[in-house]
């Protein structure tokens, strides 16, 4: 027998307990077909002489498909990521971990794009 590296607590637990919330400063456009465009102000600016040549856009759009829009709408700051994962799993008939992998990956991408923010719950002893 070899020494198993089985750890009881899943490394995904911290993410599940977190609360994801929409960027309140974002401008949201509802597109036909249930998709969304979320416009987030860009913090990075380009400086001259580059700005004389390249037109700077103050906002960057992230377009969410139907499932992405559903995830985004569920991230209301009240629900935990686990609640969002469960809701998506139920709606699309996925297993919990199938939904977890898809939803947490998607939430991470939206956080990087400034569309969502995350509040991580503190560990209670």
């Amino acid at each position: 027998m070899r020494n198993a590296q089985c750890q009881a607590k899943g490394p995904w637990m911290e993410m599940l307990r977190a609360h994801a919330m929409q960027n309140r400063a974002a401008r949201v456009e509802r597109d036909p077909g249930g998709t969304l465009s979320v416009w987030v102000e860009q913090t990075r600016r380009i400086r001259p002489p580059l700005s004389w040549i390249v037109r700077f856009r103050g906002e960057r759009a992230t377009r969410l498909d139907r499932i992405g829009s559903r995830v985004w709408s569920l991230c209301d700051g009240q629900r935990t990521v686990e609640d969002v994962v469960t809701a998506i799993a139920t709606q699309y008939r996925l297993t919990f971990h199938e939904s977890r992998v898809a939803v947490t990956g998607y939430i991470k991408t939206l956080i990087q794009r400034g569309v969502l923010a995350i509040e991580v719950a503190e560990e209670t002893v």
Binding site: M1, R2, N3, A4, C6, Q7, A8, K9, G10, M13, L16, R66, I67, E82, Y92, R93, L94, T95, F96, H97, E98, S99, R100, V101, A102
Partner: protein, 290 residues
């Protein structure tokens, strides 16, 4: 849900068969890690909060001296940081119990004689040990023999495959809403690919027949034989013909394929067999234990 909240007896046990080793685990435990190797490997299962069960295997020359092996293992685990380690028995199987990083972990050893395999069954217990569940799981452990026709059974990720014994599992892809297995023979001439796709309503905007035609792309000469039949409550589309010519010899391999949407879970199941004359009539099943 944690076992304490729902009572584990309410959860249906589900059969998993991997590497000819079978085990029944609570239905909300999912396989998150797996190994394709027959010689040695591991599978790890988790509920939504963490890992709950691990099965490791290693091919050995003969049955081990369990008593000596457990003593050596206990000493090694103590060296690695296990506290309060001691011998236990459940369902007639000898094992070890100890605490590592604050969690109780129980470990049991079995020898699978038919497979010449030493198997370790590990249970981490984050909410305390559930001896009854442990017993149920241990009692369910079995070596899964070949079918009468020599085929072997693989059952995981919602798929239940019956595979000719000469084929080995070469690849497994487990992603959200997509699981694929590919079995091949020694020379990679015969290939069996089984797949299960979810969220069908979100992406499938055609019939199963047209999806299968696009997926398999049978050659027009000679024309492929298509069949549509009802089987076990499912509308199954089947094609048999020749694949498009491949390689510099322009060989057209014989192919068979089926696809259907399971009414139970709404997923699209499909299998494609190339150059497989000995394929069983239903190499892939969806619902039911069969």
């Amino acid at each position: 849900m944690r076992n304490a909240e729902i009572g584990i007896r309410d959860v249906q046990m589900e059969l998993w068969i991997w590497r000819h080793l079978g085990i029944r685990l609570p239905g909300d435990w999912e396989m998150l890690q797996y190994s394709l190797k027959m010689e040695s490997g591991r599978c790890a299962f988790a509920d939504r909060y963490g890992f709950r069960f691990e099965m490791t295997w290693r091919r050995v020359d003969g049955p081990p001296d369990f008593d000596r092996m457990l003593s050596d293992y206990q000493a090694k685990l103590t060296e690695d940081g296990m506290e309060n380690g001691h011998r236990i028995t459940n369902a007639g199987i000898d094992g070890l119990k100890g605490t590592m990083n604050g969690d109780t972990i129980t470990r049991f050893g079995r020898y699978a004689a038919g497979e010449s395999c030493l198997v370790e069954l590990v249970f981490p217990w984050p909410d305390g040990r559930d001896k009854e569940l442990e017993r149920e799981v241990l009692e369910s452990f079995q070596e899964v023999p070949a079918y009468a026709d020599g085929c072997r059974r693989w059952r995981a990720f919602g798929m239940d495959a019956k595979v000719p014994a000469r084929l080995t599992l070469e690849g497994c892809r487990a992603e959200p809403a997509l699981t694929e297995w590919s079995f091949v023979d020694k020379h990679h001439r015969t290939v069996l690919r089984c797949a299960r796709r979810g969220m069908v309503k979100e992406w499938m905007n055609e019939s199963v027949h047209s999806w299968l035609e696009r997926e398999v792309r049978p050659d027009a000469r000679p024309p492929a034989h298509w069949r549509h039949e009802q089987r076990g409550g499912h509308a199954v589309d089947r094609v048999e013909g020749r694949a498009l010519p491949q390689g510099w010899l322009r060989r057209k391999r014989h192919l068979q394929s089926e696809a259907w949407i399971c009414q139970g879970d709404g997923r699209l199941y499909s299998w494609i067999a190339e150059n497989a004359a000995d394929m069983p009539s239903e190499p892939l099943r969806c619902c039911g234990e069969g």
